[in-house]
């Protein structure tokens, strides 16, 4: 058996490996590749699911039904949409800058997906664990703005240009506040508990050190036995709040959707785009939403950890009040239960489907969907799967909460005006961010 294959086998059988930390480079590459494919598929599915969920949830908030025709309860609507977009005529304005017009959506999509390289869906579920993971994420996601600017400029049209100008100004004002919030979270990784723990794992000496590694940040929260959201209450909360606002602005979603404000700029930076190219923007927007939510989850909500997780080290396991046999098992069963509940909802939907000839196919389809959900739930009951997939479940659940919030904001709030957004960013969020950073540092002096 060649060495790399051995490492792959090791990886599957032992669950305590850190991504990207294999002795054999080929094994690392293969595993990275597999994870890239998994994540790409997963994110694409998540985007499709988000598309459907956004329509449904928004519709229900607005006393509407939402899509109902394509598939049971419109479940196949995103696929119908995707097909429509793919076969739609792809128009490029005559006076557009051809190269840049082509490059813009590609840039946005690439950056939106590159970010996922460092997102830890679990202690072992990541493409790689970069030393500068967080920095890398923020950097790459800031390139996405470049794509928006290119799109707006290349369209050679007034509304897109204004959209992209707004976008760049928005980015400049929010990236800083976001950075301040992030730095305060990074600072927290070096505090009590965390430092010793890192010495154990990474073998670094000297004073307690923080980390920029995404996995390291979650490990620090584990080591300190708290989510950073609750650390130095309410400092962590405020930092999280700043990030939560900034991330909405960063992804151009309501109430900060100025670059594409449809009532002012028609469609903003992608006014002139259609068909496949437009769908790339759409894909990238949702991928970016999931990505920044993942940052927020990693930094403040304990990443993949289940609530009240105990401390897992390479060689240590320190249980806390909320862990131990029965409670661990209860938490481990939650993923399967969630799927069963979803399956139940789908089943109720099946039963309540109109008893009409035209709906027979749809009823069968929904029943099939319910069965599939139930089957996934059953698979999740299997102990091996359960142990390996739990982390991903908790991570996805937390991200899903953020996704819901995005939709919720969109359904509730009016849109900020351009100057008010800048005002909020520069005069409120950045000073607050700096203050939180200083206070965090001061409080952390003792540890």
């Amino acid at each position: 058996m060649p060495q790399w294959l051995q490492s792959v086998v090791d990886y599957v059988t032992k669950s305590n490996n850190t991504p990207g930390w294999y002795a054999d480079p080929v094994a690392s590459a293969i595993w990275a590749l597999i994870y890239i494919i998994l994540i790409f598929t997963g994110v694409s599915i998540a985007v499709i699911a988000m598309n459907w969920l956004e329509r449904k949830i928004l519709a229900h908030m607005q006393v509407r039904l939402g899509p109902m025709r394509v598939g049971p309860h419109g479940l196949l609507q995103p696929i119908a949409d995707a097909l429509k977009l793919l076969i739609k005529e792809d128009i490029m304005p005559d006076q557009a800058d051809k190269v840049v017009f082509w490059l813009a959506p590609v840039t946005i999509v690439i950056t939106a997906f590159t970010v996922y390289i460092v997102i830890p869906f679990g202690p072992t579920h990541a493409v790689t664990d970069m030393n500068i993971g967080l920095l890398f994420m923020l950097g790459v996601s800031s390139i996405g703005v470049l794509g928006i600017i290119m799109a707006g400029w290349a369209s050679n049209s007034h509304y897109p240009l204004m959209g992209s100008l707004r976008s760049s100004a928005q980015m400049v004002s929010y990236e800083i506040a976001m950075g301040m919030a992030v730095v305060s979270a990074v600072l927290m990784t070096s505090f009590k508990g965390g430092g010793n723990f890192f010495r154990q794992i990474y073998g670094t000496g000297g004073a307690s050190v923080g980390t920029l590694s995404m996995i390291g940040i979650v490990r620090a929260q584990e080591a300190q036995q708290t989510w950073f959201l609750f650390k130095f209450f309410p400092l962590g909360l405020i930092a999280f709040f700043i990030f939560a606002v900034a991330m909405v602005a960063e992804t151009n979603r309501a109430p900060f959707d100025l670059p594409e404000a449809e009532s002012e700029l028609v469609a903003g930076f992608h006014t002139e785009y259609s068909g496949f190219r437009w769908s790339l923007f759409f894909l990238a927007e949702y991928a970016a939403m999931i990505a920044v939510s993942s940052i927020a989850v990693t930094l403040w909500l304990g990443g993949w950890m289940r609530p009240f997780a105990s401390l897992h080290g390479p060689n240590v396991e320190i249980p806390n009040y909320w862990s131990g046999g029965a409670i661990d098992l209860a938490f481990a069963l939650v993923p399967a239960l969630t799927f069963f509940v979803l399956a139940l909802f789908a089943f109720i939907g099946t039963v309540r489907m109109p008893k009409h000839r035209a709906f027979r196919v749809q009823t069968i389809g929904l029943a099939g969907f319910a069965l599939a959900l139930g089957f996934i739930g059953l698979v999740l009951l299997e102990p091996h799967v359960r142990d390996r997939v739990q982390d991903i479940f908790w991570f996805s659940l937390k991200v899903a909460v953020f996704m819901y919030m995005y939709i919720w904001y969109r359904g509730t709030f009016p849109r900020y005006r351009f100057d008010q957004l800048m005002h909020l960013g520069w005069k409120f969020m950045i000073p607050t961010g700096i203050a939180v950073l200083i206070l965090t540092a001061a409080l952390g002096l003792g540890s």
């Binding site: 229900h60 006393v63 509407r64 039904l65 109109p354 919720w408 359904g411 509730t412 709030f413």
Partner: protein
């Protein structure tokens, strides 16, 4: 008062109120949408929809006396009535009656003008048509009502 305002602002109460309202509305009971072809809307009794030329149910003769009042009352002049004098009965008899639905604004003035209740705007509201000519209804269509093509899978 100002303290209260400040607290409201800091605790984002104004935003949370709105959020809770939209959250509450997610209850499926609140959904207002009608699933149109399945749920037929109940149109009011006085609804002014597709025109109909009434016939006497017993004799199957038209009620229209070709008095042309509806054509005169119509603001859009879209009704054309032609008649012929029946030499036997010495009465005007209706020959053709065209009603151009594409120009109709369903004001109901023709209905009001009709002395014999022959012309009536019914509760039928599905008036879509594939051609412009299809929107011009002749006497037969007006008496029988539109016969929409039924498509089968």
């Amino acid at each position: 008062m100002t303290m209260k305002k400040l607290l409201r602002k800091v605790l984002l109460l104004d935003l949370l109120q709105g959020l809770s309202l939209t959250f509450r509305y997610q209850d499926p009971k609140e959904i207002y949408t009608e699933q149109y072809p399945l749920q037929r809307p109940e149109v009011a009794e006085r609804y002014r929809g597709a025109p109909r030329l009434n016939v006497n149910p017993d004799t199957n003769e038209t009620l229209c006396i070709a008095c042309d009042l509806c054509a005169l009352a119509c603001p859009e002049h879209l009704i054309v009535v032609t008649s012929e004098r029946n030499e036997k009965t010495r009465r005007k008899e209706l020959t053709t009656f065209t009603y151009d639905l594409s120009r109709c604004m369903f004001c109901g003035l023709c209905e009001d003008a009709c002395p014999t209740d022959a012309l009536e705007l019914t509760q039928d509201f599905e008036l879509a048509n594939y051609t412009r000519e299809g929107a011009i209804w002749d006497r037969q269509t007006l008496e029988q009502g539109p016969q929409p093509t039924v498509y089968k899978k």
